[in-house]
Every structure is written in C-alpha cells, then in structure tokens.
C-alpha cells in the first residue's frame, strides 16, 4: 500500500514512471491496451493511404505520401517498443489484433474513395490525432511520453501537408472542388468520433486522467478540434456537413449537431464499411509470409552456430 501511495504521488507530481519502477497492475494493463491500440492504428492506418500510393497524381504527391506512410510505420514501431517495456511482446500484440481482441481507431474502417481523401485524412484525421496526442507528451509513463514527442512532431507536419493538399483541390477545377467537398462530407463525422464517446458515457476517463494517461476529456478535445477546424474549412471554401453547426458567442465556441453514436459503436464492434478488408489485409500479410520470418531466424541461428 505504501508503494501504491508513492506511485500515485509521483504521478500526481507529474513525474515519469519508468519500466523498472513499480506500478499498479491496472495501470500497466490500461497502458498496454492504450499504447498497443495506438500502435495498431498506425499500422492499419497505412492501408487506407496505401490504397492511393499507386494512383498518386504527381511525383511530388507520390513521394510525400510514401514518406508519410513510412513515418506511420515508424510510429507503430516506437509504440510497440514502448508497450514492450510493459512486458508484452510485439507478437502477442499482433496476435491480439488479428484475433479481434485488440482494437484500432475506428476511422480506418472507412474507405478512401478519391484522391481528396488523402488530403482529408491528413487534415482531419491527423489533426484530430494531434489534439489527442499532444497532451500525451506529458503522460505519466516515460517511454510512452517520449515516443509521443517524436510522433507529434511528425504528425503536425503531416497535418500541414494534408491541408495544403486540400487547398490545392479547393482552388482547383470544379471537379477537384467537388472531390474535396465530398471528402469533407464523408470524413467529418468519423473524425469527430475519434475523440471517443461523450464524457457522460466514458467510464474509464476519470481513472485515466488521474493516472495522466489522459489529460483532457473526450468532449473537451472534440470541441477544441471543431473550433480549430471550422475556420480552416471556411478558408478552403468548403462546407462542414452539419446544419446545426453555429458559432456560440456566449461560449466562444461552435455548437454542433448530434453525433450518430450508434454508428460509432457499430464500427467499434467491427462493422465498419471496410473493417473486414483491413483486418484481412493484415492477417494475409502476416500469415502467408511467415516463411520469411522463419527463414531469417533459421539463418541467424546458423550464423551464431558458426560464430560459436
């Protein structure tokens, strides 16, 4: 009980907990769940963007997109490494993803239907991710916080690139403008859902905030996202697909329409439009190529035998 109180005190004092430090089992489990979910999201998130790599419309855009997806793969690797310091292996986490026991962000269960979706993902999805992640640079678990510092820097670069890509479309031909508006129409609501269920329906939030695994409530972050993003959409000449969206001078914030939480929970349950495609792609890549991983291990064993 003494070490428990000491742990809580260190966390409350915004000190970092390190892998060798004692920590409550629930803290460890919650972190594993959160960090691995975040890692899985980076990896599954490569798929909707990868869908347009072979059709990127200019060499510059192709290079930017390749670099972005590469960064995401790197983020996944940092995050798996951070989770591994908590005593879980990457293979175990991968297995949990493939078996459906571990989640990833619901947003990646929506399809990328046009090139504008690549811009919209950078602008909206990375934008929302940054708001979720910036506070995590000061989260209580040291390895996670340090991974987030690097990730956040790259994410805001991606977000600016995404917005720039949308601007190109918004200033482009009528067909490009339509494409941009259509992308906003489809990605707006799923982006708002990225902040999670409303506060009055988010049971673990209080504990996570006390542990500094979370630093703001879902609704507060969501409101912040809306307030930042609406003027950006206006600057692009695009319309947010929410007839109830209105500036509220009293709150100095935008009021917004009701979110379809039934849709959110359906996608969380694995019923998103392309959920089956996403997880099948990951499982196929993993299972049909186990021979490569086995070959690398066999060769390494032979090499070490020779060296011995």
């Amino acid at each position: 009980a003494g070490r428990h109180a000491a742990f809580e005190a260190r966390v409350a004092a915004d000190e970092f907990i390190e892998p060798k430090d004692w920590m409550p089992e629930a803290y460890r489990k919650t972190l594993i769940r959160q960090i691995s979910q975040h890692a899985h999201s980076e990896i599954v998130g490569m798929l909707p963007e990868g869908n347009w790599l072979t059709r990127a419309p200019s060499l510059r855009r192709k290079a930017i997109l390749l670099a972005k997806i590469q960064d995401e793969c790197g983020h996944g690797l940092y995050l798996y490494a951070a989770a591994e310091t908590l005593g879980v292996s990457r293979d175990e986490m991968t297995e949990a993803l493939h078996a459906g026991r571990a989640k990833y962000s619901t947003i990646f269960n929506y399809p990328t239907l046009t090139w504008a979706d690549i811009g919209a993902i950078g602008w909206l999805v990375d934008g929302a991710a940054i708001l979720n992640q910036v506070p995590l640079q000061r989260t209580s678990y040291g390895p996670y916080a340090r991974a987030m510092v690097r990730i956040c820097k790259e994410e805001s670069f991606h977000q600016r690139q995404g917005y720039e890509s949308m601007m190109q479309l918004a200033n482009g031909t009528p067909a490009q403008q339509r494409m941009a508006q259509d992308a906003l129409d489809r990605w707006w609501w799923p982006s708002l859902m990225m902040f999670g269920p409303p506060d009055d329906n988010s049971p673990n939030s209080a504990q996570s905030m006390r542990w500094r695994i979370k630093r703001d409530t879902n609704d507060k972050l969501r409101q912040k996202f809306i307030d930042v993003t609406v003027p950006q959409a206006q600057a692009l000449g695009l319309t947010i697909p929410d007839p109830d969206l209105k500036w509220n001078p009293a709150r100095e914030s935008y009021d917004y329409g009701a979110i379809d939480w039934a849709e959110f929970y359906a996608v969380v349950r694995g019923e998103g439009p392309v959920a089956k495609d996403r997880i099948k792609a990951r499982i196929d890549a993993w299972e049909s190529q186990s021979w490569v991983r086995e070959a690398a291990m066999a060769h390494e064993a032979k090499r070490q035998n020779k060296a011995a």
Binding site: L47, L59, L66, Q70, T173, A285
Partner: protein, 233 residues
C-alpha cells in the same frame, strides 16, 4: 545522348519505385515494410530528378510529371527487370539485388562522368543505392541460407528475374558486366545458391517494347492525370 540516359535512369527508378510502393502495408514484417517503402521513396526521388533533367533537355515545355503521367507504354525506356511484378518477397528481393547491384556500378561511374548535371544526381543517388544493394544482398543470403522453403523460393525468384539481366548491359553498359558478375557470384555463394543457368536474354525495354505488365501498371499510375486532364494536384 545525355537525354536518353536521363530517361532510362528516370524510368528505371520510377517504375521500380512504383512496384515497391505496391508492397506498402503488406510486407512480411514492419521493418521490411519500412525498408521497402524507404527504397521506393529513394527511387521516386531519383525519378523526379532524372526525369526533370530529361524534360529540360527536351526543351518542349514538359516537366517530370508530364513524362511520368502522360507518356504511353511505348515511350517508357525502363529495363524489363524493373517492371516485373513483385511476386513473393523472394522475387522482389531477387529483382532488387540484381537491379541495385547494377545501378550502383552505373551511378558510381556517372558520378565521375563529364556530364555535370547527371553526375550531380548520380553522386547523390549512389549513396542511397549502395544501401539498397546491400540490404537486398543481405536478404538474398538470409533467404538462400534460411529454410528449405525460403531456399526454393529464392531460387524461383532468381530464375524469374535472370533472363532480364542481360538487358542491363546494353546501351553502353557492357563494361559493368565483369564487376556485376563478381558481386552477384559472391552473394549467391554466401547464400548457398548456384547462379542460374545462362538463358537467352529478353530485351526491348530500352526501345519501348515492354512486357505485358507495364501497361497494367501505367493504367493505375496514370489514372488521375488521364481522367482529369486539366487538373493540377
């Protein structure tokens, strides 16, 4: 002359970079996903520079994107090896090793060549390509010397690619052959693999006569600029 060389170098890089981008999200490990997209990105970067040079040399107001996205199959001058489908990971590695080992030798020479513009790009690219060749060689050895299955797959991968290697030494590249042979022999020996039997080479890529695979690749790659001819992206 310099123009043709820039087109060939640019098309090789573009088409092979595109092929590698098809792996994205589907590699056997995350580290390999990162490595393959990384090589792909280097190659797309080289394609921008070499095709930019080629377009400027033409002096017809086209740019690198116009060359990449508005030419038809028969105007592409990449080698046939670069356009071969990925196949399994072993074939991708065979293709990469055979190509990068050659590209490294060529770029090394060009980095010291008289043409300053090509030399500047080659000098930058050769550092990247040296890594590509060494990465791929490492995996040729791992797969050749790994399990029985990986050994067989590596043989099949090399066998698929081998008939396209003769083409690499056409068009003034004959002098690279001895050094390339030595490098390939050395890596295959380390991998416990025999060099494939000599076969009749298949050529034509440098003259715009490709395999059936390039057309499908370009149909995807060029779709947006073709479908929206007036748009800038």
């Amino acid at each position: 002359m310099a123009h043709d060389l820039a087109v060939r170098l640019g098309d090789d890089a573009l088409i092979l970079g595109h092929r590698l981008s098809e792996w994205c999200g589907h590699a056997p490990t995350l580290e390999l996903d990162l490595a393959l997209t990384n090589i792909g990105l280097d190659l797309i970067g080289q394609a921008q520079l070499f095709l930019g040079l080629a377009a400027a040399a033409e002096g017809e107001g086209r740019d690198a994107d116009a060359l990449a996205y508005r030419r038809t199959e028969d105007a592409f001058q990449n080698c046939l090896l670069a356009e071969q489908p990925n196949g399994d990971f072993a074939r991708t590695i065979a293709r990469q090793f055979l190509f990068s080992a050659w590209q490294e030798l060529l770029l090394r020479r060009l980095a010291d060549a008289a043409d300053q513009e090509i030399a500047a790009i080659a000098g930058k690219a050769v550092k990247e390509v040296t890594y590509h060749a060494s990465f791929a060689a490492g995996w040729v050895v791992r797969l050749g010397d790994g399990t029985a299955e990986s050994h067989q797959r590596m043989i099949a991968g090399l066998d698929w690619c081998w008939r396209f290697t003769g083409e690499l030494f056409e068009d003034g590249c004959a002098a690279l052959r001895t050094e390339w042979d030595a490098r390939v022999d050395k890596v295959l020996a380390q991998a416990g693999l025999d060099a494939p039997e000599p076969v009749r080479g298949i050529t034509g890529g440098r003259r715009g006569r490709h395999s059936e695979h390039l057309g499908h690749l370009l149909a995807q790659m060029q779709y947006l600029p073709r479908a929206y001819p007036d748009a800038v992206w």
